[in-house]
């Protein structure tokens, strides 16, 4: 990756900080409004869900089913079984790695 990304790293970090700061500066009542809270919660859920499925299925501008989808399903099983975060991540890695060893995606 080239140095261009640095600007985005720093820029995104600055925005993250300013967002935190905004909470201290804007009138609390505005952020407490139910509609605002609802939107924020929903946006977080929608973004995370999209990140999951896009990272599982997207490849170079197209959709592709491969070992990543298997990793997703394995992770869901691990979560249902109440595995801690690190275990879930390792399950995802192991699933993808093992499948690839067998030449499957």
């Amino acid at each position: 990756m080239n140095d261009q990304i640095w600007w985005w790293v720093l820029g995104a970090s600055l925005v993250a900080f300013l967002t935190k700061l905004a909470g201290y500066l804007v009138p609390g009542e505005w952020l407490e409004r139910p509609r605002v809270r609802l939107t924020m919660t929903a946006t977080t859920i929608g973004l995370l869900s999209a990140l999951i499925w896009l990272n599982a299925l997207e490849n170079d501008g197209a959709l592709r089913v491969d070992a990543r989808l298997a990793a997703l399903l394995a992770a869901l099983v691990a979560l249902k079984l109440r595995a801690p975060f690190l275990v879930v991540v390792l399950v995802g890695a192991a699933t993808a790695a093992v499948l690839r060893q067998f030449g499957l995606g």
Binding site: I5, W7, W8, V9, G11, A12, S13, V15, A16, F17, T19, K20, L21, A22, G23, Y24, L25, G28, L31, R35, R37, L38, M40, T41, T43, T44, I45, G46, L47, L48, S49, A50, L51, I52, L54, N55, L57, E58, G61, L63, R68, A70, A71, L72, A74, A75, L76, A78, P84, F85, L86, V88, V89, V91, G92, A93, A94, A96, A97, R100
Partner: protein
């Protein structure tokens, strides 16, 4: 301190996955030290393949709830002057949750700073360890690191799926983003997801008892 330790372990995942996403050691460390909010950091590295602007947008969108945290901590501690930006930087899921778990005011402050500083130190340390491991790993695909990234996002979302509406929004956002991939530029699907999620939530309205805070189970997002 157990909150800090549990959260620090996420750092290893982040560090390694950041490297496999193509970022360098310093960029990875910068995210953990300067951005310092797990969900946004994972969103950044999860999107950066589509471009820097897309990563910027995804990370920024995922960070908006920290503004709500800021308002809550402001109501609690009322920091003044230079203390404000200092509090702001350490305003994350864990420090806020720890502060609100305490009854007495002095304990709340101690809780906020113990969790905030503790998580910061361990998060950055483990990011470094993960990044060093990631940089030595060779082919990320062979190690299944992309599968690990998908699993990590599942782990971050899971605690939030606490209502039927949450599942609905997650499902609709996923469908919209995935189906749009062949039709739009890279990075757009994720923004569509955010838009659709926000829109759908207005239609659905709140579901059940008001959600006070993200669950404190060390999800670190």
């Amino acid at each position: 301190m157990s909150v800090a330790i549990a959260t620090g372990l996420y750092g290893i995942s982040f560090g390694a996955l950041s490297l496999s996403a193509g970022l360098g050691l310093w960029q990875t460390q910068a995210l953990s030290a300067l951005m310092f909010t797990g969900g946004s950091q994972f969103a950044f590295i999860g999107t950066v393949a589509a471009g820097g602007a897309e990563a910027f947008a995804a990370a920024s969108l995922l960070g908006v709830r920290n503004a709500v945290y800021g308002a809550e901590i402001k109501a609690l501690f009322q920091p003044r002057g230079a203390a404000v930006p200092l509090h702001a930087h350490f305003t994350i899921d864990e420090s806020v949750a720890t502060a609100f778990a305490q009854q007495v005011s002095a304990d709340q402050r101690r809780g906020f700073w113990t969790a905030g500083l503790g998580v910061f130190a361990l998060w950055n340390l483990f990011t470094l360890l993960g990044a060093l491991a990631g940089s030595r790993m060779g082919d990320p695909a062979a190690w299944g690191l992309d599968g690990a990234a998908v699993a990590a996002f599942c782990g971050l979302l899971w605690p939030r799926l606490n209502s039927r509406n949450a599942w609905l929004i997650a499902g609709i956002a996923a469908a919209v983003s995935v189906l749009s991939v062949p039709w739009v530029a890279p990075g757009v699907p994720i923004l569509l997801a955010a838009l659709v999620a926000a829109a759908v939530s207005q239609v659905l309205g709140p579901s059940g008892p008001p959600e006070s805070r993200q669950p404190d189970d060390g999800s670190g997002a």
